[in-house]
Symmetry: C2
Subunit: 429 residues, 2 copies
């Protein structure tokens, strides 16, 4: 009999317990052994209306370490008590399944080593893109491949807000309000809309795909706060949609790892990922392009990924540990590229006074920085404004070049305010 | 040292050998043991310009059974020598990896039992949709789920032809010619364009998702031969694309399993799967909608799936066998539904004489069969023709009802020729 302890009875915890109990017979059969939830631990368990005769309830999370449960399911989130719990569990030879992306992105290096040393299973399919089976694919199907790049729409909140701004013509704050009402955004949405959640997720994928330590602390992160409805409209005119993308790519001993908004051409399948849906596109030198799409968040989808790890655990052999922690390449050789050196095409939205020669000033400034223009559109002044919006798409140049040219352009007399800059997604990423 | 025998050195065989040799060190490392290709057997090996010092070559395929190879990779195709080889290999306690969809769809029931009895591994990720990791997802991630339905674009030839007819306005024969020139269609394309290849693939997915014997022999199969460019144009007007879909769905003790063209609404992500790409959409009661997209055919993508099975084999325990052959449900209770009883909306394209009252005759015939019309468009006569095309989309009715009403309509004096009937894809499938 395998006994499970569930720690954290929030949305995902409740969905997991519900899924597990409903399919307990099937899960036991698929795992070749009887399995039961023996303990549910949650700091405010007393306030939660949840009863089940055969389950022990506890408000002392760390108490599960001393229980006879062999598998701890961590659904608390964050890096405080969750980190303490997971470390102690592994040190006590208990296997762990977690849905906690912050934990793996920020402490995965240590936890992978620890689980390898203690020969226990550490499953985290739910940590990236919920029910999208990207962890399983990377660590099984794509294990013997040269992964050229991974790009994903992995934050449902950002994708929902951008989709609402695009399809319903809402402005950012309206779309955010709507997302909160529907439970797609937290009361404090900073972590999602600031790009940090997507950054955690791509860090985990980069670790697995490139066999490196977590790039999280050295990666470039931008959120979607500066995207305005007009940017979405101008992008549409040029054949693009605006999405928030997380991307990892290896070039020799360098890793690109970044999370930021992009213009994606409407012919790219990633531009069709709407609403709260998630998708991860992976390119390999052999299998070509692969895209996995599904529900990235929500109790049931996340719980489904947690449940999938239970059968992994039951079929686990210590050889599997190498899938996650085969870090015998020399990590020192792998650097996360400085964003300043990464080249990209850029979308620029510039407000200018409607006077003769302003376009010439802008274009000659770009030319003096050796930046050429692939597309340009000039628009009517916005309502109640005398400024004209100029929209440009540049050729591929480094971030430091574009920043330096933007500084110069912003200082021109006939240019008003800050220029909005968004990267253009390269279809080969 | 694990020794592998590769049987069949066609396109996939060559790509596999190339992939394996290039990544041999990585594969060995990921598998935790040294692995090598010891033998390559192909009936016309003498004619194939392939040399490798450490590999033995043989034109006697069945000779690998008596070799010291523990893993046989069957890349011959078809159900003659391949079936003989795979059965003998398993009976001789050798594990098998195959890319052969016909073999698994038509003889999988027997082979699963045989591999279970002999406790050997049988991998077939490459048999369905090439590098799309659908077998791994169904047998791992989605193992403890209630799969509501699976629908896939799993034949690249059909998808390429329909895409060419749609985006390049080619007619069927032109698109087929083009597909042949590009190597996307065989010299005799019947198996692909007739829907049989897609039927094999959905049969395999249905076996895994619903724990049933292969439905292949009892399923409904239609190809794309009767789709004309005008159907694609009329579908576009109504907001649809035409795709060839394979579908499996369980309702109580009944399985729907079928492969045929459909109209898919342009808002459904499956409608965006273009060119030779494959995609499989799965719906579960917990994880919601999942879509896996990638290269479904071609040497490298197929070989990639074969390679992925090598690490599965190395991590294989006999418990894994249950994933494929947990057939202790009473199969007798599961029937493949007769297509006549399956309900669907239909697209009808009818040629009528341009005389008053003809539309009334058609609609009243449908009404007398209790079929209502959801959309109707009447078009100008085609060039050099006096007949007017009438296009209708019906409500959801059984196939036998629609066939019977079509028979009556075709017998009307003012109706000319056969009515073209295409199912409309239900977004809940």
């Amino acid at each position: 009999m395998l006994k499970i302890a569930v720690c954290g009875l929030g949305t995902v915890g409740k969905s997991f317990v519900d899924h597990f109990i409903k399919y307990q017979d099937l899960i036991s059969k698929n795992c070749g052994q009887e399995i039961e939830i023996a303990i549910i631990a949650d700091r405010s368990i007393d306030k939660k209306k949840f009863n089940h005769d055969s389950i022990e309830f506890s408000s002392d999370i760390l108490s599960v370490i001393d229980s006879d449960c062999n598998l701890i399911i961590e659904l608390i989130g964050g890096c405080e008590i969750a980190l303490q719990l997971v470390k102690k569990a592994i040190q006590n030879k208990k296997s762990v399944i977690t849905a906690n992306k912050a934990l793996i992105a920020e402490h995965g290096d240590e936890l992978f080593e620890l689980s390898k040393k203690n020969k226990v299973y550490l499953g985290f399919e739910a940590a990236v893109a919920g029910a999208v089976p990207i962890i399983n694919s990377l660590t099984h199907n794509m294990l013997n491949e040269n992964i050229l790049s991974i790009s994903g729409i992995v934050n449902g909140t950002c994708n929902y807000i951008l989709d609402q701004m695009s399809s319903d013509n809402k402005d950012f704050s309206e779309a955010l309000k709507n997302a909160k009402e529907l439970g797609y955004a937290e009361a404090d949405p900073t972590f999602d809309i600031g790009g940090f959640d997507a950054a955690h997720k791509i860090s985990i994928l980069a670790m697995l795909a490139y066999n490196i330590k977590s790039p999280y602390k050295n990666m470039h992160i931008e959120g979607i706060e500066s995207i305005e409805t007009m940017d979405i409209d101008y992008a549409t005119e040029l054949g693009y949609k605006i999405k928030h993308i997380a991307l990892a790519k290896r070039t020799n001993s360098q890793i690109e790892c970044r999370a930021h908004p992009v213009l994606i051409h409407q012919t790219n399948i990633l531009s069709n990922i709407d609403g709260v849906m998630n998708a991860v596109s992976t390119r390999g030198d052999r299998f070509g392009t692969s895209l996995l799409y599904g529900h990235g968040a929500g109790g049931d989808a996340t719980a489904s990924a947690v449940v999938s790890n239970i059968s992994d655990y039951c079929n686990f052999s210590h050889k599997d540990l190498d899938r996650y922690s085969k870090k015998d390449t020399n990590d020192e050789l792998v650097n996360v590229m400085n964003i300043n050196d990464i080249c990209s095409q850029y979308y620029l939205r510039i407000f200018a006074n409607d006077v003769p020669g302003v376009m010439a000033e802008v274009t000659s400034t770009l030319a003096s920085h050796k930046i050429s223009i692939e597309a340009v559109t000039q628009h009517e002044p916005l309502k109640d404004d005398k400024l004209i919006p100029i929209v440009m798409i540049t050729n591929s140049v480094s971030y430091k070049s574009i920043l330096s040219s933007i500084n110069t352009i912003e200082s021109l007399d006939n240019i008003s305010g800050k220029i909005n800059l968004i990267r253009v997604f390269n279809d080969n990423d």
